[in-house]
């Protein structure tokens, strides 16, 4: 049993090392290739697949997040006579946390699964070996466009999710809960700063990068057969989901410290 645990631990360390090397290579090649004109059509193709086709699902996610928050939070605030502050609560939750995290989770399911399945199928049908056999770097040709597209588009999609969350929350607040719209927006404007929106958008870069790298790695290393591809997709989603939550926590700590460091300077500006 100890031997089994030991060999599993060694294998996990080896896999972590392989993933680290893959992530490092992907980032380094992306940096080099983003200046190449030849890469742009490949990125553009992925922008369409990853970005444009994700817009509806991301907007629906954002809208429902805002609407649900309005319904859930109203009773607590109304009990204290603070129902007109509902906008602050909804909007700050949407732009800072729920919008970015839930949008990223949706993207991990929609894009991550698709990337892993596509690259995994290419792997088991020797298409990745074919790229290598023709003297081309599969990371440059297959990973870089997907990575850069995710990096660019996840923050943009988060802005869509935020926007729809704000709209969805406002509509439920005005039409269903009968909150005064002027007060709602006034309190929102005073409570939600550009900094809060920026945090959510910046998180998108990290979430997008994590989703792309994890999904591509799982596709590149997936085992043979339909079962292998299916398993890789599941693993990619689970790993992306956990990474999103872990990154969210780490970034929350970092941003809080940054805010506390620079907050005294705000009055000078």
């Amino acid at each position: 049993m100890i031997a089994t645990l030991g060999s599993k631990a060694i294998q996990d360390v080896i896999n972590a090392g392989r993933f680290g090397r893959f992530a490092w290579r992907s980032a380094a090649v992306s940096l080099r290739r983003c200046a190449h004109r030849q890469t742009y059509p490949l990125i553009w193709n992925q922008v369409n697949i990853i970005g444009v086709r994700s817009v509806p699902v991301i907007m629906i996610t954002g809208a429902f997040v805002g609407m649900t928050l309005a319904v859930q939070a109203y009773d607590q605030l109304a009990g204290m006579g603070l129902e007109e502050h509902l906008g602050v609560l909804i909007n700050i939750s949407v732009v800072k946390e729920l919008g970015p995290v839930l949008a990223a989770v949706m993207l991990a399911g929609r894009i991550g699964g698709a990337l892993t399945a596509e690259l995994g199928t290419m792997n088991v049908t020797e298409q990745i070996d074919a790229v290598r056999s023709m003297g081309t770097d599969p990371i440059a040709y297959l990973v870089v466009p997907r990575f850069l597209a995710c990096l660019i588009l996840t923050p943009v999609l988060i802005i869509y999710a935020d926007l729809m969350g704000v709209v969805g929350g406002a509509l439920v607040s005005f039409l269903q809960l009968g909150i005064n719209s002027r007060a709602y927006w006034n309190f929102s404007a005073s409570g939600v700063e550009l900094w809060d929106v920026s945090i959510g958008v910046v998180k998108g870069f990290f979430f997008g990068g994590a989703i792309a790298i994890i999904s591509c790695y799982k596709g590149f290393t997936c085992k043979e057969g339909a079962h292998g591809v299916g398993q890789a997709c599941t693993e990619a989603f689970v790993a992306s989901f956990i990474s999103i939550l872990a990154l969210d926590f780490a970034l929350a700590v970092v941003f809080k410290n940054v805010y506390l460091t620079f907050w005294p300077l705000k009055s000078l500006v």
Partner: protein
């Protein structure tokens, strides 16, 4: 056209007269499984070498070592006298442009058209090539395999034989010096198989390429081979021309080329039980 990769590190044809490809004491293990066991062989320029052997004996693994798609566990691989198995992936990209590889299932990129598949290596290595020029090249390559007019088809819309021929057109897109065929006739009917055999001979004749074919189709092997190498249990057990192989005294070679099952295999089948007792009948599920 300016070739973007610098291949000056490889000797030019006039400078080099040794074997084109050479492997020395090549051993490959997957975990504890020994697939290739200290294989040493060399491939002469301009000849067609056929590697035969039963399924799972390591034929594909061996030719993947020729372009270092697999790294040896131990041993060395040389191309034009230069050791290549210890090169980095980046250094290997230049070396691999000297090779064309026809994968067992074609390995065409299924999300792009046949024309885009063939254009892929051209546009990767000849950065300045104009679209019109590339289209002409694609047309010429497809015409060589009898598929001109199929430019806008997707791989899924082609038959098995057409897919192999399209993959072959992609493999010769960079005018390679060496063509590696991995089971080129597997899954094809006898007529389509013979078309592939004729294409192998045509490319050897017209392009002067060095050809290495992995197959267990003996008809194909006898038709195209200048030299036949037989692998068994990760080792070379026979090496020579077609007549040498036909008259080889090794019983495993004779069983393989004549398609005869061995007594050991028959004994295993007998021990597995009879069909009637092991088979469920439809009424068992009612």
């Amino acid at each position: 056209m300016n070739e973007s990769e610098d291949h000056k590190s490889l000797p030019q044809d006039a400078d080099y007269s040794g074997p084109l490809i050479e492997v020395r004491n090549l051993t490959k293990k997957f975990g504890k499984k020994l697939v290739l066991d200290k294989i040493s062989l060399s491939i002469e320029k301009g000849k067609t070498t056929v590697i035969i052997g039963p399924s799972g004996c390591g034929k594909t693994v061996l030719i993947k070592h020729f372009i270092v798609l697999q790294r040896p566990t131990s041993g060395q691989v040389y191309f034009k006298g230069r050791r290549i198995d210890d090169l980095s992936e980046r250094e290997l990209y230049g070396v691999r442009t000297h090779f064309g590889y026809l994968f067992q299932e074609g390995a065409l990129f299924d999300s792009i058209t046949i024309a885009e598949n063939i254009m892929f290596p051209i546009r990767q290595h000849f950065k300045g090539v104009k679209w019109r020029e590339a289209e002409e090249l694609v047309k010429a390559k497809l015409a060589m395999v009898g598929l001109d007019g199929f430019q806008n088809y997707y791989p899924a819309n082609l038959s098995g034989g057409q897919r192999k021929r399209a993959a072959l057109a992609r493999a010769v897109a960079l005018n390679p010096e060496v063509l590696l065929y991995d089971e080129p006739t597997t899954g094809l009917d006898p007529i389509r198989s013979d078309i592939i055999n004729e294409l192998i001979l045509k490319f050897e004749r017209e392009l002067g390429v060095t050809t290495i074919v992995v197959t267990h189709d003996m008809k194909s092997a006898y038709k195209v081979a200048d030299r036949i190498i037989m692998l068994h249990n990760g080792r070379v057990i026979a090496d020579g021309d077609a007549d040498h192989i036909r008259n080889h005294p090794h019983p495993t070679v004779q069983q393989f080329i004549n398609g005869q099952v061995s007594e050991d295999d028959l004994a295993v089948l007998r021990m597995s039980g009879t069909l009637a007792t092991s088979q469920f009948l439809p009424r068992d599920f009612q």
